[in-house]
């Protein structure tokens, strides 16, 4: 809670996300992407509210090309919810907070 959104990359993805003991929401983003910047504060707010029960992370697709390829990501921001190493749900684009919160609540 309130620890901020965790930065993950190709190397740490398995240990931090796939093997996490909690569900994890990963925001695939890049610095040149406007919509990604718009949604970043929403991730932060949700982390403050739900960070105890869910891992909130972000993966810069510019520095970590393998993970996005593995999950067939072709648009950013893409937000993927993982549980026990598997994809549970996925959202593409800068969506409203309520939309993202709905996804988070599914995992609680």
């Amino acid at each position: 809670m309130g620890q901020g959104v965790l930065d993950v990359d190709d190397n740490s993805f398995e240990s931090e996300i796939l093997k996490a003991d909690k569900p994890a929401l990963v925001d695939f983003w890049a610095p040149w992407c406007g919509p990604c910047k718009a949604i970043a504060p929403v991730m932060k707010e949700l982390e403050e509210a739900y960070g105890d029960s869910i891992v909130f992370a972000r993966c810069n697709v510019d520095n970590s090309p393998n993970t996005p390829t593995q999950y067939s990501i072709r648009a950013i921001p893409t937000l993927i919810l993982f549980q026990d190493g598997k994809v549970v749900d996925q959202i593409v684009g800068a969506v409203p907070k309520s939309h993202l919160e709905g996804l988070v609540k599914k995992a609680l």
């Binding site: 890049a30 992407c33 072709r74 907070k97």
Partner: protein, 303 residues
């Protein structure tokens, strides 16, 4: 200092931008306004609920009158879209579709709201699997592939040209291009395959985009389609400056009562700040933004 430094730059010449121009220019600020009147929501509207005018007024006439008013205070107008914004050393740089750069001490965003989705079969289902709304964000995922861009204006045209550096083949699907002559020349001299006079009917694919069906019956085999309707909007031009959006919808720019955003020198006014989408609100916010920006620019110039 750049030789043509403006005090106030305004993106958008709808009622929000026009009122901001009138108020900032009448305070003796050096003002420039970008945008195309026909792209204002007001252009085709007829207004009956704007204060102190009983008759039905035509939106087009209001836009023309507003421009004359602003010009009478020496505001400068340029009928071009802005395709990129930057914020460096307390100055804003704006890049136009014709490739010119303008610099200003303050920036007022009044781009209004515009439709971004095509609303055709297959579009929603294939978002993120070949359907994209942002060339700048997603071009990199289409290296060596075939892609189409759909749209009639600057966002689609500049998007198609950008994609040439990534994709193998780039098609531009448009009814009729509405861009400046300079940008048109650039397009004509590029490798973009322009398909004019038609539109997208359906996007086809099982898991990913495979084909695009056009209204003229033609089918394009592509791996991706970029929907770039109109000009670049708030998510493209404001988010990269660091402007904060409302958390509820992530569509509108957050401002305080002075129309200031979280970025010093950056203001927003009109439909772009959220509902109600009404002229009275747009001009009210434009008035405040114009006054505040002119004052801020003066302080910056004196410091």
């Amino acid at each position: 200092m750049p030789k043509d430094l403006y005090d106030v730059a305004i993106i958008g010449c709808g009622p929000g931008g026009l009122q901001a121009a009138i108020h900032s220019a009448s305070k003796k600020a050096k003002v420039i306004v970008f945008g195309k009147p026909r792209n204002s929501s007001l252009y085709k509207a007829h207004i009956a609920n704007f204060c102190c005018s009983e008759k039905l007024i035509s939106g087009k006439e209001m836009l023309e009158a507003g421009r004359k008013q602003a010009e009478s205070f020496d505001a400068v107008f340029l009928e071009e879209d802005i395709i990129e914004t930057k914020n460096e050393n307390k100055l804003f740089s704006l890049f136009t579709e014709s490739g010119e750069t303008f610099t200003s001490r303050t920036l007022i965003l009044s781009m209004g709201v515009a439709r971004k989705k095509l609303r055709v079969k297959g579009e929603k289902r294939l978002v993120g699997r070949g359907v994209s709304y942002c060339v700048d964000c997603d071009a990199n995922f289409y290296r060596g592939l075939d892609v189409a861009v759909v749209g009639n204006e600057s966002a689609a045209t500049t998007g198609a040209i950008t994609l040439l550096s990534y994709a193998k083949t780039v098609y531009l699907i448009c009814r009729k291009l509405m861009i400046t002559d300079t940008l048109y020349e650039q397009l004509r001299n590029s490798q973009v395959k322009v398909i004019q006079g038609t539109w997208v009917k359906e996007i086809i694919g099982t898991n990913d985009v495979e084909r695009v069906l056009l209204k003229n019956g033609e089918t394009l085999k592509v791996n991706g389609i970029f929907v770039e309707l109109g000009a670049k909007g708030a998510l493209e031009l404001a988010a990269n400056l660091g402007a904060i959006f409302d958390a509820e919808t992530v569509s509108f720019i957050e401002t305080n009562r002075k129309q200031e955003t979280n970025i010093p020198g950056l203001y927003a006014a009109g439909d772009i700040t959220g509902q109600p989408w009404q002229i009275a609100k747009a001009v009210g916010e434009g008035c405040v933004a114009g006054i505040e920006a002119a004052e801020y620019a003066k302080k910056l110039a004196d410091s």
